[in-house]
Amino acid sequence: MSMNEFLSTYGALIVGMVLAAILALSLYLPLMAGQLSLASPGFYALGGYIAAVLSTKVLLQNGQAISPFPVHLLLFEMLLAGIIAGLLAVLVGVLALRLRGIYLALATIAFVEILRVLSLNLDITGGAIGIFSIPQPFTNAIQYLLIAAPLLLLSAAFVYRLERVRAGRALLAIREDELAADTMGINPTFYKVAAFTLGAALASMVGALSAHFLNTWNARQGTFDASIAYLAFVLVGGSRTFLGPIAGGMLLTALPEFLRAVAGIGGLPGWLSQFLREGRLIIDGLLIVLVTIYFPQGLITPDLFKRRRKAAEKKES
């Protein structure tokens, strides 16, 4: 297979993996402070609608969508989507983050459902049909990496740094014991809302990019199913280091393709290859159950690196 063939076959998958990794980071941010928020798909959908409406109804040239769509306008849409989602997140966060544990998860589920039903019924979002023919800035899928990859690198670098500075340690302290953290002079509400807002802005920016990437946007983009999928990214990958969600998002997005390839291997019994092709979501669900039971911290844990470092040190001495 030549490089070009490979890219045209798997270009969309590779971009999808990178976007999934960023979405997983958006859920990981509030989780750093121990807050299980399932709101990311809501903000993702919101960002997508902002980009879809702007590029098909507002930023027109002679009454037509601009095609090819200028990259600087795409970046502007992403920025705007991030800001609007951030503002909304501050509002929702101040109200909802007084709640803890299960109550917060429930409030964010309600938030996502409310946004979904609104987008199903409002005129500006195209109702149940959604918005079609969103203009493309690029001619083929793989070129979206020009924006997706830097966004992933920036957000990963940001979270990497965050885990090592005072603000990040404050988040971890809140996760371990909110009351104790409060007593030590950390303002839990401030840090929780900040983490929630950053996650929301990130998810919304990915949404804006995805709307162009997928060419069409509708209410199916922000559903409870999507909440579960993102949660699986983080939990399967690992919820104790930023590398976990990135790995989880990439692996689980590539999994169906991988299973399809396995199903194509000759010599498998018919029922097995059918299951591998069509039972992907069953396998997803089983993974969630098994990982929570047997690997409660996910596949990639901070210990993994510590152990390797120690082993390396031993070798040197």
Partner: protein, 319 residues
């Protein structure tokens, strides 16, 4: 709105509200004992509806592994519904055994169990889709005719100004009231119910007093699955089985019901179900598209104003 139409809306609201109540009690029973929300409850609800359909002897559609398959026999509808509920209860027991107990024995974070139950929901829903496809199923004919010839609707108005209420809605309401009454009796008046309440109050003390907690947890999951399965069949009877995913939306709405009533409160779940059912019945026709928002708007509001719900007890904060 004249009295007749008011009555019509109230009956419709009570009918669906009482099904919400039955369904939500499944969440509440598990929560009151384990302090965990079992998010696979919506999937068990769906399973119950499909079990009943299977037991009536009807064939499946053209998609999925079991395309066109059917049982060699068919039960009359009421019997199929009860058996379907029992099988759903057994599924509940299996879920406890495989997805909850390993985490409980390790004393894991309740959020992890929440996630594990979500995984179970994903598996169940997609197993249904894999086996019988995503098409819509309806129970055969007028199932009420098991009891002789029953009219499809009862007219509460006059001949000139008809105010029909579907007979199915009335039957569902009466049946649900019976189930709710039986359950209330069971929890409050029987020895097993007393043991369940003792565990809900304090599991450690209850086990010191000789109550086998593990066995009662299994019983709770069985009851929860039974109620969920029954609710699934009732909704399938009132509307239709709208594919494997129809329990997900209902499951989320059930969360609104239990939070509104107060997490872990049995009368609260009943009250919450009826309130949300009635609130939905009174949505004006021109806003009917937004009906689905009501439950979640109420959920969000109650969480902000009074997180413990209408009848819930405030959780003591351990320091």
């Amino acid at each position: 709105m004249d009295f007749g139409h008011l009555l019509q809306q109230i009956l419709n609201g009570l009918s669906i509200g009482s099904v919400y109540a039955i369904f939500a009690l499944g969440y509440t029973l598990v929560f009151s004992i384990l302090r965990i929300i079992n998010l696979s409850h919506g999937a068990v609800f769906t399973l119950g509806a499909y079990f009943t359909y299977t037991l009536t002897g009807e064939p499946f559609g053209f998609n999925g592994v079991l395309a066109r398959a059917a049982l060699p026999f068919g039960l009359p509808f009421p019997l199929a519904m009860l058996t379907g509920g029992l099988v759903a209860g057994l599924v509940g027991v299996a879920i406890e055994r495989f997805a909850f107990r390993p985490l409980r024995e390790r004393g894991a974070d309740p959020l992890l169990t929440l996630v594990s139950s979500l995984g179970v929901a994903v598996v169940l829903v997609n197993v249904i889709q894999y086996l019988v496809g995503a098409e819509i199923y309806s129970y055969p004919g007028n199932v009420l005719n098991t009891f002789g010839n029953v009219p499809a609707a009862i007219n509460f108005g006059s001949d000139t100004n008809a105010i029909p209420v579907r007979t199915v809605q009335i039957v569902i309401f009466i049946f649900s009231l019976i189930i709710l009454a039986l359950l209330t009796y069971f929890i409050n008046r029987t020895k097993i119910g007393k043991a369940l309440r003792a565990i809900a109050e304090d599991p450690v003390t209850a086990s010191l007093l000789g109550i086998n907690v593990d066995r009662f947890v299994l019983l709770t999951f069985f009851l929860s699955g039974f109620l969920g399965g029954l609710a699934g069949t009732l909704v399938g009877l009132s509307v239709s089985i709208a594919g494997p995913y129809f329990g997900i939306a209902f499951g989320l709405k059930g969360l609104a019901v239990i939070v509104l009533g107060g997490l872990g409160s049995i009368p609260g779940a009943m009250l919450g179900g009826l309130i949300i059912g009635l609130a939905e019945a009174f949505v004006p026709a021109e806003l009917v598209a937004y009906k689905e928002v009501i439950a979640f708007a109420l959920l969000f509001l109650i969480l902000l104003i009074r997180p413990r719900g209408l009848l819930g007890r405030a959780a003591a904060q351990k320091v």
